[in-house]
């Protein structure tokens, strides 16, 4: 017979034991988190040698970025810098660095490292994608004190901090100045160090990358696993097989595999708002296409009405996609009137084949017309090809006879340059990644110069809407007042949306198959396809099982 007091003692004791065990579990880092991924890019750990996708997948785990994420909403948030302020004249950004950060060799992270890193990204031998842009826009960088850096620009650059966030681009990666200068570039590439929550262990070319968790607290999150292995497995069915057997905890997959994966008992995760599948028309402003059907905005609108987006979402994307916002806009986009555009999109992107046919007839094409359409997709994104095939089919059903040509992704960019002989007068599939700032993406598609697609007009032909767009874009670059910025952004979206030249089909997601016995339940960052900033926040399976 156990007396009341003894019972209480027992209860208290077991409570204490449980509490300390839980505390210990929270403190211990054990186990290996294994992630099977399709590509490790160039598999180089020097940030200036890798492109955006590679950086996001594997460099992000060991390097911190000057500007970070808003983990809840997606988009930009504090990073290595806690906050940043724009000067009155708009030509200087001052970044205030979070104190107490250290590199993997215990060197403290200071403003000197930030200045060094930015300059390294901009250097002539840097292969960073934005190097040239940075050289054009950044005039100089000053270190004010150990925790303050000033970036001086040659013209007002409202979007500069966003450009240094991994939500947008990888050029904000902070590299260790003292270490690099001491050991030299070659040694740094062999034994890289950063300030991220994971430190580099080894790299087997073409096979894997191994990282080990840091043991101290980190503002990104102290990892719950001791080790992180990123395995290169190009074939998707093999990746899924590895998750099923438990050889990997997480694998990146495509939407077509989501269904089989969950049927096999795996957890699946879809990261919202990571991309849009879009289609666009080229060269429609050119004089030779004046009387062509695709030069008519109403006809282009009809084409959008002929697409049953919901069916594409349900069947090609297996339900794991959303009706889109206007081109290149997402739920986390900055300076946008979200409610207005949500309502607009619901109405504008509806499925109305009757109306589509009516418009075609009204505009003089009751029997339809012929349309050249180019289908292309990033390697590994078969669903994009399927979407292209599906909308071609839907257009055929309203009388538009689509001539579908298929291009391998690498062969596509040359077609977009110069006179666009293969594409002008027709359309193609395309995509846009999820980013919180619009002007940058609009510019690459709609600018009248440069290597972009020049959808709205080119150097010789720039009509009304083209000119208006250019004007808004210029105003936007220098506009500081948030209210005015929002108004300008809304106007820019409106101008482009009404041309129906570049039209989103669906808002896609990043897809993962997960073995719930190997990793606990976690949430990804909205809009960010890659898991590079999420690994440290993933619990172990014993810590937080997937809710059933």
């Amino acid at each position: 017979m156990i007396g009341g007091l003894q019972l209480r003692k027992w209860a208290l004791a077991s409570l204490l034991v449980a509490a300390s065990a839980a505390h210990a579990a929270a403190q211990t880092q054990t186990g290996t988190l294994i992630f099977a991924v399709e590509s490790l890019g160039g598999q180089t750990l020097d940030p200036i040698l890798e492109g955006r996708p590679g950086n996001a997948v594997y460099q992000a785990v060991m390097y911190d970025s000057l500007v970070g994420f808003d983990f809840a909403k997606g988009g930009v948030g504090p990073g290595v810098a806690e906050r940043w302020v724009l000067s009155a004249d708009g030509l200087t950004w001052t970044f205030h660095i979070r104190p107490g950060q250290i590199f993997h060799n215990n060197d403290p992270l200071t403003a000197h490292d930030v200045k060094f890193s930015l300059e390294r990204q901009m250097a002539p031998n840097s292969l960073a994608a934005a190097a040239a842009v940075m050289r054009r826009t950044i005039k100089s960088i000053d270190v004010v004190d150990d925790l303050t850096v000033r970036v001086n620009t040659s013209s007002p650059q409202i979007g500069l901090p966003a450009g240094l966030s991994r939500a947008v681009a990888p050029e904000g990666a902070v590299m260790p100045k003292n270490y690099l200068e001491k050991v030299g570039e070659d040694e740094f590439r062999r034994k890289p160090i950063g300030s991220g929550p994971w430190r580099f262990v080894r790299s087997v070319p073409g096979d894997r990358l191994e990282f080990e968790a840091v043991s101290h607290a980190h503002w990104r999150g102290r990892p719950n696993f001791k080790n992180l292995h990123l395995l290169l497995v190009p074939e998707e069915s093999t990746r899924v097989a590895m998750v099923r057997t438990g050889e990997a905890a997480i694998a990146s997959i495509g939407p077509e595999t989501m269904l089989s994966a969950s049927r096999s008992g795996l957890e699946v995760l879809a990261v919202p708002g990571t991309m849009q599948a879009i289609y666009q028309f080229y060269g429609t402003y050119r004089p030779e296409f004046k009387n062509s059907p695709v030069a008519n905005p109403r006809i282009r609108q009809a084409l959008s009405l002929a697409i049953d987006r919901q069916q594409i979402i349900d069947h090609i994307m297996n339900g794991r996609a959303k009706m889109p916002f206007p081109f290149a806009t997402f739920g986390y986009t900055e300076f946008l009137s979200h409610e207005r555009w949500d309502k607009w999109a619901r109405e504008a992107f509806r499925y109305d084949p009757v109306m589509a046919r009516k418009i075609l007839a009204e505009e003089g094409y009751p029997n339809g017309f012929e349309l050249n359409f180019a289908n292309t997709a990033l390697p590994g994104t078969q669903y994009m090809v399927d979407i292209g095939t599906a909308i071609a089919d839907m257009w055929t059903k309203v009388g538009v006879r689509v001539k579908l040509r298929h291009y391998e992704w690498g062969s596509f960019p040359p077609l977009v340059r110069g006179d666009q002989p293969a594409l002008a007068g027709g359309g193609s599939m395309f995509r846009t990644a999820g980013r919180p700032d619009i002007p940058w993406r609009y510019n690459s598609a709609l600018n009248t110069e440069g290597v972009g697609e020049r959808l709205l007009g080119d150097a010789s032909t720039c009509e009304a809407s083209c000119r208006e767009y250019l004007q808004i874009h210029t105003d936007l670059t220098a506009e500081r007042d948030p209210v005015k910025r929002t108004a300008l952004t809304d106007r820019m979206v409106e101008v482009v949306a009404n041309t129906w030249l570049v039209v989103p089909i669906i808002e896609g997601m990043g897809y993962y198959a997960i073995n719930s016995r190997r990793v606990g339940e976690f949430a990804a960052i909205p809009g960010r396809h890659e898991l590079g900033d999420v690994f440290e926040r993933m619990p172990r399976a014993d810590q937080k099982p997937w809710k059933k």
């Binding site: 077509e256 269904l259 069916q311 090609i316 599906a390 298929h406 391998e408 062969s411």
Partner: protein, 260 residues
Amino acid sequence: MVFMAVFAPLLAPHSPIDQTLRDKLLPPAWVDGGSMKYLLGTDGFGRDTLSRLIYGTRVSLIIALLALLAGGGVGLLIGIVAGYVGGAVDSVLMRVVDAAFTFPAILFALLLSITMGQGLTTLVMAISLLLWASFARIIRGEVLALKQRDFVALARVRGCSAARIMLTHILPNVLNTFVVLVTLNIGVVVIAEASLSFLGAGVPPPTPTWGGMISEGRGRIADAWWISLIPGVALMLLVLSVNLFGDWLRDRLDPRLRQL
């Protein structure tokens, strides 16, 4: 098989290309959930497997025949010329053939399809590149042996030009070998088409080919096995029957070719 290809439009119960997305991923008729409407099930787009299989026969066989004729034809020509003319021409041509052997064939096909855009013609060209070298080598061997024969010497004595000899005397005699080679290589060609589809250089959708169908369905082996396995089985049967036929043909036509 050939019968199916020719009469495809009449046989197929549904259009192979039209998508009925709502009907997608239905299993074949003999599995739970299947129906007689779609005898062999449907794929991810709601396209009937049976119809696609039938139409695909047409496409795959066309590709195979064209590639064999093209690649084989070139190989035949080179083999004859090299074997008969001999000397420097022979050396040079055989060097080129050797080079072709050391070149990764599949990659060459890939490079070609990237350069020229994907499509039927490109695929045919790419696959014929795989074949010509082996054809050339074997035919050349035959020609070398033939060259020594009496009737060739006779023709030469009579003053026939080299070209005439090659055309009227050599060619008919190597045709046997050629035919055997063609039949034996049909399997190779169809498999190559499948591998190229896997690598992303095959015929673009929505055109059905057996290789393309197998490649498309490979991620779904676990739950929708029929998409890959049915064309896979068909392919196997095709290759088996063609090889048996080729063996029989070879035994008939020329026992000397047993080394093939």
